[in-house]
């Protein structure tokens, strides 16, 4: 799809079977809606509310040729690269976090030309999703002007018809699929998020298909009691799965803090053994566990309880 092709994007949305009914399903069935070659947008930001449950299941289903987009991409990006599942990443930043330095896996894959890295500024990428969410081909902005990001991406400049000033136009970004992990959802897909909203709302409206994991599925009465906490309406959502600790060992605001000791070990292994280490990691954490429960068991209940306590201390 051409950048900003809102006509095609809307036709896809209209052609899709949609319903206002129930959407509860399994991780397997939800992830099964992703096709080889799809553009998959990932909710959350860096190691916050990453939909790791869905991402692991997509890898288990051995998808190929994907485009991944995310505002700040964390080690899930490395997984898809090492697994040979991704051809292109669209992001404003790729790493694990300042203390862990440059991503060795990403450098190998991008510098060798195996994976294409399309860089946008953080705001520009946010506006691309927002344009798509609004069903328009672009949004005007004052960011990115004059920088080499203009030529690297597909942004254009225009002369404002009202003021004569130069503006940057960033084209809408319409993902095929959006993956989100939220705090609460009802069975119709109405979603509530606590704390940081990140870019999830725009991503959900921008994508053709929206797959959601929720830390908790709540009842009809509960969603109706606080409708002003709902940020994504069920009518835009296609699948909902209850996945407690769905972002673990990344963080979920107020519920559990990220487990940085896991990050330390992950990076230390890659630093010591390179690509081999990430394959071992994928085998252990992605391919081996047959269920989300088996995955969580690898971390232990005590660690989860500790991270949950820690979260309450920070933002309780």
């Amino acid at each position: 799809m051409n950048p900003g092709d809102f006509v095609e994007a809307r036709r896809r949305l209209e052609a899709k079977p949609h319903s206002a009914g129930e959407k509860l399903t399994t991780l397997e069935a939800a992830a099964g809606r992703v096709r080889d070659g799809d553009h998959v947008a990932i909710g959350g930001c860096l190691f916050s509310r990453t939909p790791l449950g869905l991402l692991r299941e997509i890898l288990r289903q051995r998808r190929r040729g994907l485009t991944l987009s995310r505002n700040l991409m964390c080690y899930e990006g490395e997984w898809f690269m090492a697994a040979g599942a991704v051809e292109r990443v669209v992001t404003s930043w790729f790493g694990i976090g300042l203390p862990w330095g440059l991503s060795r896996i990403m450098r190998e894959q991008v510098e060798s030309g195996r994976v294409r890295f399309e860089e946008w500024s953080h705001l520009a990428l946010g506006l691309r999703y927002r344009a798509a969410a609004a069903g328009v081909p672009f949004l005007p902005t004052l960011t990115m002007l004059g920088s080499d990001l203009m030529a690297a991406g597909q942004a254009q400049t225009m002369t404002c018809p009202f003021t004569g000033e130069t503006l940057c136009l960033v084209p809408a970004l319409f993902p095929d699929v959006a993956l989100l992990n939220v705090h609460r959802a009802d069975r119709f897909g109405n979603c509530q998020i606590d704390g940081y909203p990140h870019m999830d709302v725009d991503i959900a409206h921008a994508a053709t298909t929206v797959l959601v994991t929720a830390e908790e599925i709540i009842g009809d009465e509960e969603i109706r009691r606080h409708p002003d906490r709902t940020v994504i309406p069920g009518i835009v959502v296609d699948a909902v799965v209850e996945v407690p600790f769905g972002s673990y060992p990344h963080e979920c605001y107020g519920r559990y803090e990220a487990d940085f000791s896991h990050f330390d070990a992950y990076v230390a292994e890659i630093t010591a053994k390179g690509t081999e280490a990430i394959h071992a990691y994928l085998a252990r954490y992605v391919y081996a566990p047959r269920t989300h429960q088996e995955y969580l068991a690898l971390f232990g209940e005590e660690a989860r309880a500790r991270q949950a306590r820690s979260a309450r201390e920070l933002v309780g």
Binding site: L123, G146, L149, D202
Partner: protein
């Protein structure tokens, strides 16, 4: 009191915030500098972090690692979406932004994208994040960086975040109507930009630093005006407050 280069950097950055009401800051030294300013001469300063936090408080010893994690939300007054928080800057609500980069050139342009040729980089760096947005949209921007020759290059390999581009009125001509890089704060000196050419200029040296030190650590010709002053060294109070924020010295 003895002090590290990172401590000098944090103290000098904090001092730039006198009278500033709102600051766009990243994690690490910039956030430490902001917290130090808040606890000393800028009690009303509102810290804004791109991950989506307005008015958070730093927990001593539990410094945030990323701009969008819970630690940055601690005691915040608002948690807007990321796009919306940048739009605050685009509208003109943010007084000052702090930025950094892997490379900086004589016109204050920053590179955090790649080393080598664009199409096939020798080193693919993490990327802009919000750096490009902060430098494009805040009222004033200060670069906060260690002063190293490999970092201060004649021309950046890639303009991730535009300073004055080719100098003169190039920035304005590119459509960047607001904001500008007003200062470069390093562990050796405070630098600014000459009014017309927009070339980098030494504004003040830190105590014990010579012009030769600065030159040795800069990969291009700096403007050196007559009679450059010297900044006050970090005070005991500044260092004490700073160290209380980062007792494990993760950033200091």
């Amino acid at each position: 009191m003895n002090h590290s280069a990172a401590e000098v950097l944090a103290v000098m950055a904090a001092r730039q915030l006198r009278g500033v009401t709102s600051l766009f800051a990243g994690v690490g030294i910039p956030l430490l500098a902001a917290a130090l300013a808040q606890k000393t001469h800028a009690p009303d300063l509102t810290i804004v972090v791109e991950g989506g936090s307005i008015g958070p408080e730093v927990i001593p010893g539990r410094l945030p690692i990323s701009t969008n994690e819970m630690r940055v939300a601690h005691r915040a007054r608002m948690l807007p979406g990321i796009t919306d928080i940048f739009l605050l800057a685009q509208r003109g609500f943010l007084d000052v932004g702090f930025v950094g980069g892997a490379q900086i050139d004589r016109y204050g342009n920053l590179n955090s994208s790649l080393l080598g040729p664009h199409e096939r980089p020798k080193v693919r760096l993490p990327g802009s994040g919000g750096a490009n947005d902060i430098i494009s949209l805040c009222r004033r921007v200060m670069v906060v960086t260690m002063h190293e020759r490999r970092r201060f290059v004649p021309q950046v390999d890639f303009v991730t975040s535009p300073g004055f581009l080719g100098g003169g009125d190039a920035r304005r001509k590119a459509g960047l109507l607001f904001g500008r890089v007003s200062r470069v704060v390093t562990h050796l000196a405070i630098l600014d930009f000459e009014e017309d050419s927009k070339a980098m200029r030494v504004a003040a040296l830190h105590a014990g630093v010579t012009v030769a030190d600065v030159r040795d650590n800069t990969g291009f010709e700096l403007l050196i005006p007559e009679g450059i002053g010297t900044t006050e060294p970090p005070t005991e109070r500044e260092l004490t407050v700073l160290r209380s924020l980062d007792p494990d010295r993760r950033f200091l």
